[in-house]
Amino acid sequence: MINQQFLSSFNLRRVLIAILWPSFISAGIALTAFYVWVDPLMIANVFGLPITERIDMYSISFLFLWGQAILASIFCLIFVAPTHHLNPNKRDFDD
């Protein structure tokens, strides 16, 4: 799926960092910005979640946002990698 030559120019940790870390920061910022104005229990109530503790809602929301952002990071990595290995006859401008 992802060009192996591209991946092998980094070490594994760096790839994991690129996926996990920016998404962690974004999720943290989004969570703070959102819950400063909104009571987490209200959200739980709106979605009918059986949650009575705010700390649970904070944690679940954070993991949800982080997961979303991880997804974005993975897509980002896939799209940024060169694609000529998928069709060797056609060259990208940037490969």
């Binding site: 192996q4 991946l7 092998s8 120019s9 980094f10 070490n11 594994l12 940790r13 760096r14 790839v15 960092i17 690129a18 870390w21 400063v36 104005w37 009571d39 503790e53 705010r54 700390i55 649970d56 904070y58 944690s59």
Partner: protein, 463 residues
């Protein structure tokens, strides 16, 4: 994928073994580490008020109740402005110090540096010096290697777990947390965050180290924007040092002061050679200065072949550290600190919201008076009970909830009270359909605790 040969999917990372160093900057850093970690591990245990019967944790970010306790203050989500101000202040201070003397933050105060330093103390204590560590890592597994490695990771893990535990203690009161830990009744999320933060500490300080600075830190990438030719940076004095001596029989003429002992490279926690010039990997820890000064002393040369200096000075120009940039940052910092300090000193821990009844603009009461209905929400942000007096003023004579000219509202400590109030006026005193009125509340025990909010009183168009 036709070849059967194994494909290296990722590049290997080469481990850096920084050599231990002693000297004035190392002492600065050790002091910094001890003070900062002392604050981090100690602060949540501090009770407040310090000498009183009724105590709470001095610093507690009580997320479940959406209140931040900071010594004397209790902040609510409504005080978000202070938090933003504080963050802007931190950013400005970072700009200021970076423009002045490079990455002081990275070298002495960043949590990554602080915990890595402690983790390396543990590593050196259990695994020995740099040379011993390199040798042992290359050697095959032996019982000695096994127990030393296990012991190191065990100590690292204990410290990491304690760090995670302390971190969660900033959000859940530590006495509750300790009780729950001892009775094994920790909540699932508390346990999760202790392990998560502990694992992050173990991973970042034990395994990732300089890679956090190289690959994870955004500041490392944009700090150069705050540098200029007058910024104090750690640099190698090329004019004095070159040509370096190579081997025992170096016959370069005339030789520079650098004896090419490689110590500056060995002590570098990010594995760079400072003699190549300013690099983004340099975290400004000044370990190379300490190492080089020691060598210069031994070879009877003046210290400071590697030192804090500016680009201008290295080019033979006069140094001008106090420059417009520094003045501007200083003024901005002073202004912001004053504004925040003033705001904090004059903060009134009381909020008043007035919501008009949406169903009816006005109605005629049974006594013939014209009535408007409101909901008032009183937020007592202080840690003690208050009784507030509610008054209404405007061009008209109002009666509140019947025949009163004022009413009392009791709000327990740190709670929010909502009350429906009705305002009545004699319809014959009205001269127009729309009046601006002011509803105010004042604490009966402290007249400085007062809020006054505008509202509208509406009547018929055809009076």
């Amino acid at each position: 994928m036709t070849s059967a040969q194994p494909i290296e999917l990722y590049r290997k990372r080469e481990k850096i073994y920084p050599r231990a160093v002693s000297g004035i900057f190392a002492r600065f850093r050790i002091t910094g580490v001890l003070v900062l970690l002392g604050i981090f591990y100690g602060l949540p245990w501090l009770p407040w008020p310090m000498f009183a019967d009724q105590q709470r944790q001095a610093v507690l970010f009580d997320l479940p109740n959406r209140k931040f306790y900071l010594f004397e203050w209790v902040f609510w989500p409504q005080d978000f402005l202070f938090l933003s101000g504080l963050l802007i202040l931190c950013a400005l201070a970072l700009f200021f110090f970076t423009a002045l003397a490079g990455r002081l933050w990275c070298g002495y105060a960043c949590p990554q540096t602080v915990w890595t330093e402690v983790f390396m103390w543990i590593e050196n204590w259990i695994e020995g010096t740099r040379i011993q560590q390199i040798k042992r890592d290359k050697a095959p597994m032996s019982s000695e290697k096994f127990w030393r490695k296990s012991a190191k990771h065990a100590v690292w893990l204990i410290l990491s777990l304690h760090t995670g535990y302390t971190f969660v203690g900033y959000f859940t009161p530590l006495d509750v947390l300790t009780h729950e830990t001892l009775t094994a009744t920790l909540g699932p999320w508390e346990l999760f965050w202790i392990l998560f933060y502990g694992f992050a500490t173990y991973g970042n300080a034990g395994w990732m180290r300089e890679q956090v600075c190289l690959y994870m830190c955004p500041y490392a990438r944009f700090q150069s924007a705050m540098f200029d030719a007058e910024t104090l940076i750690i640099s190698y004095d090329e004019a004095r040092g070159e040509p370096r001596k190579r081997g025992r029989n170096a016959n370069d003429d005339p030789p520079g002061d650098c004896v090419n002992c490689q110590l500056c490279v060995q002590v570098c926690p990010t594995g760079i050679d400072i003699r190549d010039g300013l690099q983004y990997e340099c975290i400004g820890c000044a370990a190379c200065i300490d190492a080089c000064d020691e060598v210069m002393e031994k070879v009877d040369k003046p210290k400071g072949l590697i030192r804090y200096t500016t680009e201008s000075v290295l080019q033979g120009k006069p140094s001008r550290i106090m420059r417009p940039r520094i003045y501007v940052y200083t003024v901005l910092l002073v202004v912001l600190v004053s504004v925040l300090g003033f705001g904090l000193a004059n903060r009134i821990p009381l909020e008043l919201d007035i919501i008009r009844d949406r169903n009816a603009l006005f109605r005629e009461a049974s006594n013939g008076y014209l009535e408007n209905v409101y909901t008032v929400r009183v937020m007592n942000m202080e840690e003690r009970d208050h009784t507030y007096t509610l008054n209404v003023d405007g061009e008209l004579d109002f009666f509140i909830n019947g025949k009163n000219t004022s009413i009392d509202i009791q709000v327990p400590a740190g709670e929010v009270a909502s009350r429906a109030i009705s305002l009545q006026v004699d319809p014959y005193t009205l001269t127009r359909s729309n009046y601006e009125i002011f509803i105010s509340i004042t604490s009966q025990s402290n007249a400085e605790l007062t809020r006054r909010e505008p509202a509208r009183f509406l009547g018929p168009d055809d009076f």
